[in-house]
Symmetry: C2
Subunit: 329 residues, 2 copies
């Protein structure tokens, strides 16, 4: 392996000089810069990031911590988008990104978690899929040991930022659209799982909407499960004018139930996943740019690793209508 020492010798300068041009320090004459770069080219020198990390004590390593539930694990479009966005942005910012699944840390204590991340020289963590029940992670966040960015949960402290869309508003708008389009009054809302941050936000949105439009609102917990949504729809669907679901997957369950009951009721989804197109039905959804959200999270980690304090960042979204041929073309 060829090191900066070789480059220095080849260019006829000191080691530190090479280091300085490598790291774009000021106060280096153009001439030496040229000499050094030429030597680098000629020797095919590749900087050793490990040595740099050791020396500078900055690994630039971050972890993407993904909580995929059993339900979403099957249809991982959203998770994949998050991962792709984070990986892409990390590469752009020259940071190392490793992916960690919740399952790998589920039965670790806070102390073990810290040890785990520290031994991996991880400086920052992005958390996706956090629920209010994940006490260990909440402790980790509160300990302020690492720079953390939480996606879709309103947690901020000195070393913690969050990035999310306004789920309350989004749920409000998309449900309103569906309800007005169909002139519905009695609504079945199949929520996600209580104690999830987004679930509670979305429920709040629905309650607001019910008040504003003077609706009869029945809220039931669907646990993000298609099967559960299916059952709930069988149970209540016939007596309602529309079914609003807190996830697309549950919306599929609801639609299938309605089809089997052979009745029509408008169904409203949420995530806006491509999968919907394959089911061959239509519905309104929010459209979030998961790729961009997680890219934003990486940028935020970077800011945190620099100087800045934790902060909250709300991102935008659109309303959309998903249908079969939209997708496959």
């Amino acid at each position: 392996m060829i090191s900066i020492k070789d480059v220095a010798k080849h260019a006829g300068v000191a080691i530190s000089t090479v280091s300085k041009v490598l790291n774009h320090y000021p106060n280096i004459s153009d001439e030496t810069k040229k000499k050094v770069n030429q030597a680098i080219d000629e020797l095919g020198f590749v900087p050793n990031s490990i040595a740099a990390a050791l020396s500078s004590k900055q690994s630039g390593r971050i972890a993407l911590l993904m909580n995929l539930t059993t339900q979403t694990q099957a249809i991982d479009e959203i998770g994949m988008q998050y991962m792709a966005g984070a990986i892409w942005q990390a590469e752009k910012l020259k940071m190392d990104l490793i992916t960690v699944f919740f399952s790998m840390i589920r039965d670790k204590s806070v102390q073990e978690l810290k040890t785990y991340f520290r031994s991996q020289n991880i400086e920052g963590i992005i958390v996706y899929g956090l629920s209010k029940d994940d006490t260990v992670l909440h402790e980790l966040i509160a300990s302020m040991t690492f720079k953390i960015v939480v996606i879709d949960a309103p947690i901020v402290n000195r070393t913690t930022s969050c990035v999310w869309i306004d789920h309350k508003q989004a749920q409000y708008e998309i449900a309103k659209k569906t309800i007005l389009e169909n002139n519905a009054k009695r609504i079945l809302y199949i929520a996600g799982k209580r104690n999830g941050y987004v679930t509670d936000e979305r429920i709040a949105g629905m309650e607001q909407l019910a008040e504003d439009l003077n609706l009869t609102l029945l809220i039931r917990e669907g646990y993000f499960s298609e099967l559960e949504a299916r059952k709930l729809t069988f149970q209540y669907g016939a007596y309602k004018d529309a079914v609003v679901c807190a996830s697309d997957l549950m919306a599929i369950g609801a639609m299938n139930a309605l089809t089997e009951m052979d009745i029509f009721r408008p169904v409203c989804g949420f995530d806006g996943i491509t999968l919907m197109g394959y089911v061959g039905k239509q519905m309104n959804t929010v459209r979030q740019n998961f790729f961009q959200i997680s890219a934003e999270a990486v940028k935020e980690i970077r800011a945190l690793l620099g100087d800045s304090e934790g902060r909250e960042q709300k991102l935008g979204y659109e309303l959309a209508r998903m249908q079969y041929l939209d997708i496959i073309c």
Copy 2:
């Protein structure tokens, strides 16, 4: 940060002794081992893997190189399974795994690729989704600069292993099952994309089957696209007894076409993805354990990084029938 030096001092031993118990060297008395471990506990020492990597010149870092096509990108179940398996196994073997998408390296030259991986201190690479057209990657493999494991392509050299299921046999069996169950004679086979390794293998399987069962076989290229499969089925489906597809997504396209034409023909898929359950139809598929396959790939990388030479490894699979309620329960 507390280092082995501190531990050594605290335990009253030499630095190297600490290093040795850390790395489970032989020839350390139980007594000193105990002393050292106690010091480690008391001080809350966490080994610095970066320093270890620098010193030992072994980073233990591998890259998972994923080629997700536009089609599969939408429904990333398979990719996610691969990623999860690799990440899981890498953690078990205490290796660092970073994920890289083809898109990030698409327009790099071999030289740039080498530089990229070298600067990241990557010692081994797992390649998923390689096609015969990826010349740069083939050069990289041929250069034997890195230890590489290719998934689903029969490439082996001194530093390259491959891991795959027998696609020819799998396609043969699953199609045979479908065809015999339905007593079909005239078959439309919607293949993937020529020049893909698996595509050619699967076509060979179909040709073999056609010969063995004396079938009339029409082969068309579907490019793994649902839309293309849909078109082909509109075009030929009515004149055939069954449609065999080289992927589940194409099978969905075929099914939707048949539904719209309002005719029944048995359809046979391949991958066995969960998504099928959401479509609410039935078909035969192969069932591969993607998670296990990529875990195997990581193990193979590990072997390669040790002593062993490249080799080929065929994994098992099952036949299955996917249907709606299978999935959501």
